[in-house]
Amino acid sequence: MIEIKNLTKRYGNKLAVDDVSFTVNKGEILGFLGPNGAGKSTTMNILTGYLSATEGQAIIDGFDILENPTEAKKKIGYLPEQPPLYVDMTVDEYLDFMYDLKKVRVGASKKTHISEICELVKISHVRKRMIRNLSKGYKQRVGIAQALLGNPEVLILDEPTVGLDPKQIIEIRTLIKSLSESHTVILSSHILPEIQAVCDRVIVISQGRLVADDTETNLSNKLSDDVRYTIRIDGPEKEVLSMLRSIPAMTEVQALGKREKGVYEYIIEAEKGFDIRREVFKRLSSRNWPIMSLKSSELTLEDIFLQLTEGRTDINMMPAAEKEPEEKAEPAAEAEEQEDGGDEE
């Protein structure tokens, strides 16, 4: 459906996009992940014909965006980073204009089509209002409505949930997921849980280069083959440590420190293909040291992201638990909280 070949974009001496190639199949939701300034928006702008590539090709459903721009653009609904809204128009006037501008041809009449889309993104009750007076969240939805006009086969959404409140974010994500049944979607974000929640496939881009292209699960598997666990044990730290180290298949044991009264946390890692959990349980129970928690410390998308974009190699030594040693929250809550922290990079 979408084919990008050796795309390169140069701004003077600065290389914004560096030899990026990928394809997106019909009906796929592709997550486009990268830190700010990685080249996500530039790639999307090239894909939609707003910018021209210095080198390389972008092909939408068989139409090259440079050679056949009109045909290619008809297939695309685009929501840029900043929704292109004429703020001096009402929502109705604006959508009416965009409908004409995009030369939409759908089975239904213009009026029904626009009504359906307003229903879908839940802006029906603000249709008579000036866009200028709408809140950020509603402006964003009008932007999404505009992209959906004419049911384009390809939807390109540049950070669609920016500026929305958590409830709206969930609504928009659900909407995007439901759209993928009839559309091919490319979604950019620097918010990792968003990509995790919505996308089938993830492309990670950093400093203009493609650093990963795979499903989310495969990505975490590739980067961590080892069987690693974070474990909390109620028992004297030194003795527990030496006992854990005495297990034959154990390759690494690391103490992380005290977590609760008398409870210490450790990281354990076993040989590949060896499930260490049973052995650990037997030995600990024989000494009457209860296991307070045991969780697999597979890499989260955050870790993958940092590893890929910063070229960090020490990621295996830095499980999620160690980032905030004082944090006693559950891992799920931790991931939510890191949502904001992750943006900084």
Binding site: Y11, N45, T48, G49, Y50, L51, S52, P69, T70, E71, K73, K74, I76, Y78, P80, Q82, P84, L85, Y86, V87, D88, M89, E93, F97, M98, D100, L101, K102, K103, Q146
Partner: protein
């Protein structure tokens, strides 16, 4: 193109700009016309020749936000990613400004009808004058729009527009102070005023028509190039 034309035209009346433009235009037009009535002449040409200056000051009002506003609001992303050619965008906007300009000069038809109720109408002179002002307006609009495409700020576009209009106005004086004869001759050929005065004095010269049409085509083409350049930079 028609969607852009309709939107731009409607925008003039969404803000007071369109009304202000028409009010200024009608005020001065009325004043010039009353001078014709007072002097008991049936020559409408003086209205048109005086209009040259009015156009200089009003056209930048029409063109200042045409391209700059889209850049500032990033709505150019909607236009440039829609299945419309760059020519469609530029000509759509040009025609919207031109349509409002047309509503302004249509008042001269009323003047002519009033005049012809009192004296023998000079149809061909009136039509020649009307053609002249249409061509002059069109070329000034395309120059103003080109300047608007160079900036994101309406104010700069307006000031730049006035400067360009002033330059157009000054071409004759520049030509007269040129130390080299052939350079002066070139500037004389570029004189909007001389060519426009041909129309108002009742001369219909095909080269003048061609001159103004070329200005429109050249500056609209340059505006397209500016949009195109943005893509590549």
């Amino acid at each position: 193109m028609s969607a852009i034309l309709r939107r731009e035209f409607a925008t003039y009346f969404r803000a007071p700009l369109g009304y202000i433009y028409l009010a200024i235009f009608y005020f001065f037009g009325g004043q010039f016309f009353s001078a014709v009535l007072y002097s008991m002449t049936n020559s409408i040409g003086t209205v048109f020749s005086s209009m040259f200056t009015v156009l200089m000051f009003t056209i930048p009002l029409l063109t200042m936000r045409l391209m700059s506003e889209d850049k500032r609001l990033k709505t150019d992303q909607a236009l440039l990613t829609a299945p419309v050619s760059l020519n469609g965008i530029v000509w759509g906007k040009f025609l919207a400004a031109f349509a409002l300009f047309g509503i302004g000069i249509a008042i001269t038809i009323l003047y002519f009808l009033i005049l012809s109720s009192m004296a023998t109408p000079q149809w061909n002179i009136f039509l020649g004058n009307l053609l002249g002002i249409i061509l002059l307006g069109g070329s000034l609009i395309s120059i103003g729009m080109f300047i608007s495409s160079l900036t994101e700020s309406q104010m700069i576009a307006a000031i730049g527009g006035f400067a360009a209009m002033f330059f157009v106005f000054m071409i004759d004086s520049i030509a007269s102070i040129m130390p080299v004869a052939w350079l002066g001759a070139i500037f004389e050929q570029l004189s909007f005023l001389t060519r426009y005065n041909d129309f108002t004095s009742g001369i219909l010269d095909f080269s003048n028509i061609l001159f103004f049409l070329s200005v429109v085509v050249v500056f609209n083409f340059l505006t397209v190039r500016i949009l195109e350049r943005k893509r590549w930079s």
